[in-house]
Symmetry: C2
Subunit: 397 residues, 2 copies
């Protein structure tokens, strides 16, 4: 099993440059090489909302990996459908890399609608109200059927402001679930049960498995969770349970303490974070991978991320404004359309408003990561970080 | 003024091939040459719903001209905004040809919410409830400000089942409004008031004006309306007031009687029609131009037009169906995605369902017109018509 721990056939990682704690790397998957730090657009239900795959693949965006949500896909369309269509890649028509979360965060987010036990989590489906049970074993089975390139362990998330006592219990449960996830995953890989492979007759071992470090804002518990996760051994390590209600300074403090302790030769993934500023600050602390709904979700509610800060396209000040969303942006949307037009589309309830804002926002996030990588390679990351963060507050909206 | 009647600087038309009453032609505009018969996607509020302009321009669709709705654009964002942004082409970011309707049909559709007098139509805005007044003069002013390549006269539409008496009055009003439209249009062109020109210093006369023949299902009144419209003189002639409640056989009968009587050397435009079968049947009777919301609107409600008939993507029979929407279609959607996936997207309420169905449906309509043109040129139109119509009923949904 040791061969799978750091470098499975499915995933290899190498650090290519460092600038302080910040680093660039190559994440080599069977579906292409991914330069890190990388931002992964979120494709909850098998689609990155409001954008076509052709656009994600275009040079404008060039997203190398996207995320799918096990919880959502398991409930709808269901695993039988995705299996019948040859796994998640084939089902959605995406040949690049896919990471799936475990469903742990989604069921945790259900609050009173779910019941957590040692065995797993019982909850009611938001789609049809049926009673469902998600556990490390079920999550691994679902993710094997999805055939994602990177599988996440089933974890338990403690809220950002959880007490030491509550968090300690949560960290213990997460560690036991991580072990069960690892075992179930290994069995499934050996049993050739990962349905979503490129070719049906390929050897198993196509999927990689990442562990998740929890511990809320308690540095000692974060360290304990990290140690227990590394002890089990995974292909990469994620930081969960941040940006879930705690102060931003707390998040940066946890990251600054935790990330540099994580295995240096393996990818570090900060889950569900964050704003453009958060990404750059996390990179400064050694993080390699990110996913977040902000560029897509906020695009659908009329918010554009720009190099000089966020703008709300509904604002009357853009009524006759013929400038692009971001004057420094060269994406298709900024090359073609004005704030005035996007505002009109938004106010008229036109789908194209969401489409254009989503495209631009993703371009901004992905371009930011290109800038981050370039500056690390050239040893200019501190300057990039300072200038980028400084500009972000220029707009003042 | 006679120079503008059949061939303005803005528009020239020549018939290039005939097969019975069916014909191909070239509609030469300042924004490119359009092969006819042509289908114009409907871009009501400055966007063809759920599709990006890049896709409309792609070889997959290659729409040479789209339609905008004066009524909708006048109410929102309003003419001041569109003028401030340099006309409709610049406002929406579309450099190909644009046709705008006059708003006549939209205000007529408001039913009891509008009041028609000799002077024009008073109604309440569906956007803000304000009292508005639309007349031939106002419609021409708005369309000049929009700067569309083809302007439509302001007409009055009689319902498909209107009595002879009601229709006769309507035809009279339409003729008087057509004359006022012509006069107002000519003044505006001379006054250089068409704001949406490519270059601000170009000469006026950039816009073309089409007349509209009304008369419901009364062949004598259709003929009278045609005569009175041709007497005024326009760059092209449209047939209005069809597909508004009358029997399909009535529509074909009116078309068969009317279209061949229309000026042979000018474009004939059937407004707001129709199904793929309607398009082919109207071409057989001599029509050159079409617009219809069916491919876009029905796409958003889960209907795919295919070469073997319509399919409803919500149907459970497609749950595990890995075939494309249309097995004979080579559009991007059919090359990449399955019925199973599009069904999932639709049921999950994902915007991508509308995006993909709209793209495919437009590809089907535009490709049908390519097939129509090719078959006319090669003298095979009767065979094309028979086979196309025969296949459409194969699916049986």
């Amino acid at each position: 099993m040791s061969a799978r721990i750091s470098n499975t056939p499915a995933l290899r990682f190498e650090v290519t440059a460092r600038d302080g704690d910040a680093r660039t790397g190559l994440l080599k998957t069977r579906r292409g090489v991914i330069e890190t730090p990388v931002f992964m657009p979120v494709g909850t239900a098998g689609t990155v909302k409001a954008i076509r795959f052709e656009e994600l693949e275009s040079t404008d965006l060039d997203a190398k990996i996207i995320l799918g949500n096990t919880y959502h896909l398991w409930l709808r369309p269901g695993i039988e459908t995705i299996k019948a269509c040859g796994g998640l890649h084939r089902f959605i028509g995406w040949e690049r890399a896919l990471l799936t979360d475990s469903g742990g965060f989604q069921v945790w987010s259900l609050g009173d609608l779910r019941k957590i036990s040692e065995e797993g989590t019982q909850f009611r489906s938001h789609v049809d109200g049926s009673l469902r049970f998600l556990s490390p074993e079920v999550s691994m089975e679902v993710q094997a059927a999805l055939g994602s390139d990177i599988v996440m362990v089933f974890d338990e998330c403690a809220p950002g402001d959880a007490s030491h006592e509550v968090t300690e219990k949560s960290v213990g449960l997460t560690a036991r679930w991580a072990k069960r996830s690892r075992e179930a995953f290994d069995q499934l890989q050996l049993a050739d049960a990962d349905e979503g492979r490129v070719e049906p007759d390929e050897l198993s071992g196509d999927q990689a498995l990442f562990g998740i470090v929890q511990g809320a804002s308690h540095l000692d518990l974060r360290k304990e969770s990290l140690d227990r996760t590394v002890e089990i051994g995974f292909d990469g390590y994620a930081i969960g349970g941040l940006s879930v209600g705690e102060e931003k300074s707390t998040m940066y403090e946890v990251l600054g303490d935790l990330a540099p302790r994580m295995p240096a030769d393996q990818p570090r993934y900060l889950m569900g974070v964050g704003t453009p500023e958060d990404l750059v600050e996390a990179v400064a602390r050694g993080v390699d991978m990110f996913d977040c709904v902000l560029p897509t979700r906020n695009g659908r509610t009329g918010q554009a991320f720009t190099s000089t800060g966020k703008i709300n396209i509904k604002n009357a000040r853009w009524m006759h404004d013929t400038r692009p969303l971001d004057e420094s942006c060269l994406c298709k949307v900024c090359r073609r359309h004005t704030r005035s037009y996007v505002r009109h589309l938004y106010l008229a309830g036109e789908m194209l408003a969401s489409i254009l804002l989503t495209h631009h926002n993703l371009a901004f996030f992905l371009d930011t990561m290109r800038g981050v990588r370039q500056s690390i390679r050239s040893g200019d990351f501190p300057k990039f970080r300072q200038e980028f963060t400084g500009r972000l507050s220029a707009n003042g909206e």
